[in-house]
């Protein structure tokens, strides 16, 4: 147990900090979920990151990374959030598909997809859920019919984050006639392919965070299947582990939000009840607790461990923390907490309100928290499935 950074790790932090200070845009970029311009501005940021070789620091050098360990990845993320750098528009690619491809992809696929992913040339969306298969993901009905060295994709997907403007997607499809966890394959396809129709879905804040996708005999090379035919379920579960447990929500995001919350409380504390200080302290404690748990997890992974059902405990914790952080901020702001950022007198309220509204999705996406509780109960604690 050694909770101290090495000199090399400190030097790495300084290097990241210097680059971020020189490169992070002064003004926030326009939303990537509202307009093509906002989306492309974020793609430009991804390109700039890649020019500094910061696209995905844990990946091997030949795929656009730096081959660094997970502790350095955490340091990178800490500096990234500290610098208020733009949200990663390619998070579905770099945080979910990337690690999955590293584990299950062929060398040819890695060489073809990963450098373009790291560079922001291909922005990825996830195409798993269907109208009849949300929490019960094994109920997907969309099909991949083998046709020589191609597949024909048919069916419908929904809740595909970023799919309104993204370039590629990774989807879960089944062999016609197969059932449940059998016969599933993970297939990569361009969202511009002939036969793909995208229909944006407005989220409750009016953003176009996700899309519905329709497939009408979409022809995809079999070489764009990730992993073996019929192994899709196993691969998706590995991806879900990365998503819930580690990559999607790094602790720095919440620690920096807690820091802003502490400053907000400091500015408004005259006139607030003393109990508000306790709520703020709890948010700070939980953000730090998440960070400590992730440092422990990364130390375990670096020693050869794997991500298990603890990814579900992480997902519950960060999603509930995100709500508590934003709710506390809005409660500090009092009756002004209903103002949107466009109200003339809103000041800094808009960001807290936007963050709060977004946090409400946290217990739903990446597998609802109720499903995570089932996973913890069954796989971690050993309670019976039925």
């Amino acid at each position: 147990m050694k909770l101290e950074y090495t000199e090399d790790q400190r030097a790495f932090r300084s290097e990241v900090r210097a680059w971020m200070e020189a490169n992070v845009p002064d003004a926030p970029l326009p939303s990537f979920d509202l307009t093509r311009e906002g989306f492309e501005a974020h793609r430009d940021w991804e390109r700039r990151l890649n020019e500094g070789r910061w696209g995905m620091v844990t990946w091997p050098k030949q795929y656009g990374g730096r081959g660094l360990d997970l502790i350095r990845w955490l340091i990178f993320e800490e500096e990234y959030y500290r610098a208020k750098a733009p949200t990663r528009v390619n998070q579905n690619g770099i945080f979910l598909l990337g690690p999955t491809m590293m584990e299950f992809g062929s060398d040819e696929q890695k060489a073809r997809f990963l450098p373009r992913m790291a560079a922001g040339d291909d922005i990825w969306a996830q195409a798993w859920s269907e109208p009849g298969a949300g929490s019960d993901l094994a109920g997907v009905r969309s099909t991949c019919t083998r046709d020589g060295d191609h597949y024909l994709l048919n069916g419908q997907k929904i809740w595909s984050s970023r799919a309104v403007f993204a370039d590629w997607a990774f989807g879960l499809f089944r062999e016609p006639g197969s059932e449940r966890h059998q016969g599933l394959s993970l297939i990569l396809f361009p969202l511009t392919a002939e036969g793909v129709t995208r229909r944006p879905i407005a989220s409750l804040d009016g953003d176009l965070q996700f899309a519905e996708l329709f497939f009408d005999n979409v022809r995809v090379p079999a070489a764009d299947r990730l992993g073996e035919e019929g192994e899709g379920w196993k691969i998706c579960m590995a991806t879900a582990g990365f998503e819930r447990g580690l990559m999607l929500r790094s602790p720095a995001r919440y620690q920096e939000a807690a820091k802003r919350l502490i400053a907000l409380h400091e500015r408004h504390k005259d006139g607030l009840p003393a109990s508000m200080a306790e709520r703020v302290a709890r948010c700070w404690m939980d953000a730090d607790a998440y960070a400590l748990a992730i440092y422990a997890m990364c130390s375990r992974l670096e020693a050869g461990g794997t991500i298990g059902p603890e990814s579900s405990t992480n997902k519950i914790f960060w999603s509930e923390l995100d709500i508590a952080l934003h709710q506390t901020a809005l409660d500090i702001l009092g009756p002004r907490g209903e103002l949107t950022g466009s109200a003339p007198d809103a000041g800094d309220i808009g960001d807290w309100l936007d963050g709060y509204v977004f946090s409400l999705a946290g217990p739903i996406y990446a597998g609802s928290n109720e499903i995570q509780r089932n996973i913890i109960a069954e796989r971690m604690l050993g309670l019976p499935r039925k």
């Binding site: 500290r82 302290a281 400590l292 405990t313 309670l383």
Partner: protein
């Protein structure tokens, strides 16, 4: 940066755990209560022979010269088995205090050898295990006095926890009994180790709830197959999962003695207590009416948590430390570890 125990640390924790599994089952606890023995002599001599009492004592004094973080895993195990003997307070608090004295009057060696030195720290109104102690470290206006058992009068104060024997201690301070000007970081040590015990106690409660839920049949199937029961258990486990690393970090950073390091101990005590509290109540709930009986073992663990949650600083006192820390020291993603703020 390596947030993981060494193989040596894991080995000694595992050895202690295995010993307690053999010697400190609920049946053993019940036998002690029935026979009104304050201390299981056989178990205590095993603990002593394993060197656990002297883990933090200097090697020159017959100890193992280890650190507080090394004892945290043992304390968690002591909690898991609701160990009645005062191993944690003796090894983790009294012995380091004795080791820091200019003149320990021979008591360091005696304590390492398994003689109990009880703690009358001002954080707590009563002294635990004073009746089985050979000597007591007592507070007089902030000073530490070392007094032999024969020189004090004890009045038992019944705790909800039948294994915690608390006493009001009446004694007369004298210049000759004074051994130190202050208690140093005894309260921090004790709070951290109480937190570690509560992690173990909480985990035990979840494990008992799960075992019962797998066996108990209602509506034709195990109650553990119902989501209502699953989610109770899962929520308690989530709390434990995000308290344990805080306890471990607080143990590893103990040596820094800065406000961020002390606030991590406060954080650990608060969240371990809350996690354990939820776990105990979950265990009672999952056991249904049986959970409210003397016959089912859950209450032993619930009562220990109840006591430890408020001993060595109340949650409100620890919260004040956390609030002070965020108000006066930098926060943010680069400030997780106290070593970065030294």
């Amino acid at each position: 940066m390596r947030f993981a125990f060494t193989d040596d640390q894991l080995a000694i924790t595992e050895a202690a755990r295995a010993m307690l599994a053999d010697t400190c089952a609920p049946a053993d606890l019940r036998r002690m209560l029935d026979s009104e023995t304050p201390l299981d002599e056989a178990r205590w001599s095993t603990i002593r022979d394993m060197g656990l009492t002297g883990m933090l004592a200097p090697e020159a004094s017959g100890g193992l010269g280890m650190g507080l973080v090394d004892l945290a895993g043992i304390a968690e195990a002591a909690g898991y088995f609701a160990l009645p003997e005062p191993l944690v307070d003796l090894a983790g608090v009294a012995i380091p205090l004795l080791a820091g004295l200019e003149d320990d009057r021979g008591w360091l060696a005696r304590a390492v050898g398994g003689e109990i030195v009880a703690l009358g720290h001002p954080a707590n109104p009563f002294v635990a295990d004073a009746d089985v102690a050979a000597a007591l470290l007592l507070d007089h206006e902030g000073e530490v006095h070392l007094v032999e058992r024969e020189a004090v009068a004890l009045t038992r104060q019944e705790s909800l926890d039948p294994f915690r024997r608390l006493f009001r201690v009446d004694w007369t301070p004298a210049a000759a009994t004074k051994v130190a000007d202050g208690w140093g970081r005894s309260a921090d040590r004790a709070a951290l180790l109480a937190a570690a015990q509560m992690i173990g106690l909480g985990q035990r409660c979840i494990d008992m709830a799960v075992a019962y839920a797998r066996d108990r049949i209602q509506f034709g199937k195990p109650i553990g197959s119902y989501q209502a029961i699953k989610h109770l258990c899962a929520n308690a486990q989530v709390k434990i999962e995000f308290a344990r690393p805080v306890v471990q970090a607080a143990g590893a950073e103990f040596c820094l003695d800065t406000l961020p390091a002390r606030a991590r101990i406060a954080h650990a005590k608060i969240v371990a207590g809350e996690a354990a509290d939820l776990a105990t109540r979950t265990a009672v709930q999952v056991h249904g009416a049986m959970g409210f009986t003397w016959e089912v073992d859950v209450h032993f663990f619930l009562k220990r948590v109840h006591a430890l949650h408020r001993a060595w600083g109340t949650p409100a006192q620890h919260m004040a430390t956390a609030i002070e820390r965020i108000g006066t020291e930098p926060t943010g993603a680069d400030c997780t570890f106290a070593s970065e703020l030294a």
